[in-house]
Symmetry: C2
Subunit: 136 residues, 2 copies
């Protein structure tokens, strides 16, 4: 799994087994994950605290982004080249009320919104809840 090392190095991070495992979990699961999800998947190998810190580091370095949810934060891989300096996301997130999975719809962009005078938008986050194709 040299690709994991590449990704970590590309973001100026040391390669450790915890970081490799967290990253690889994101890659294989594909959907947005909460801290609890990762703890469930890797908790026997790593301390809770380490997972928290790994998520925080990945966020800062632009490897993952936050996904808003009505029952707790989740995180998902950044597909484009986000960096320490800035994240850029304008895709839609879809949460299925049946299976509970939240996924990035990378190809769907959030439509432009005309805000009233004085509002300076920087960041957009659209969550659509409903039933996904698998469960429909």
């Amino acid at each position: 799994m040299d690709q994991l090392r590449e990704t970590l190095k590309g973001h100026h991070l040391r390669t450790t087994t915890c970081r490799e495992d967290v990253l690889s979990t994101f890659i294989t699961k594909k959907n947005a994950l909460s801290h609890g999800d990762l703890e469930g998947a890797l908790g026997e190998n790593y301390d809770r605290v380490t997972i928290y810190r790994t998520l925080k580091t990945f966020l800062e370095k632009g490897i993952i982004h936050k996904v808003l949810d009505d029952e707790g934060l989740r995180y998902a891989l950044c597909s484009h080249n986000c960096s320490e300096e800035k994240h850029h996301h304008d895709h839609i997130h879809f949460k299925c009320s049946e299976c509970g999975e939240t996924n990035c719809l990378e190809n769907l962009h959030i439509p432009a919104v005309q805000l009233p005078n004085g509002y300076q938008p920087e960041n957009f986050n659209l969550l659509i809840q409903g039933v996904c194709p698998k469960c429909g």
Copy 2:
């Protein structure tokens, strides 16, 4: 403050001082509030647990709705006639990174999105973060 009683009765709720105070806090503060905000405002008068339960009840009855946030849930008044049966919201929420306030932009509707086949949307939640007119 008979309007408070009216609102509570209209949603089939007994009028208690806690409910009146929570409702009145939402009305006067206008912006979205977290449980912590309410605890800060009313915590000396009511138990933490009671405030949790009041929020839950208000949510169920359609008096308030959830506002997604990247650092914890907030709640805001439903402006239209939401009920036990269903909530309907399609307005935009704006969170200011300076003052930290989150507000409903009642007049701004979330633009329609063309989802791929198979997705059945039910619920939309758009949070825009940036700088608000007061802080700009």
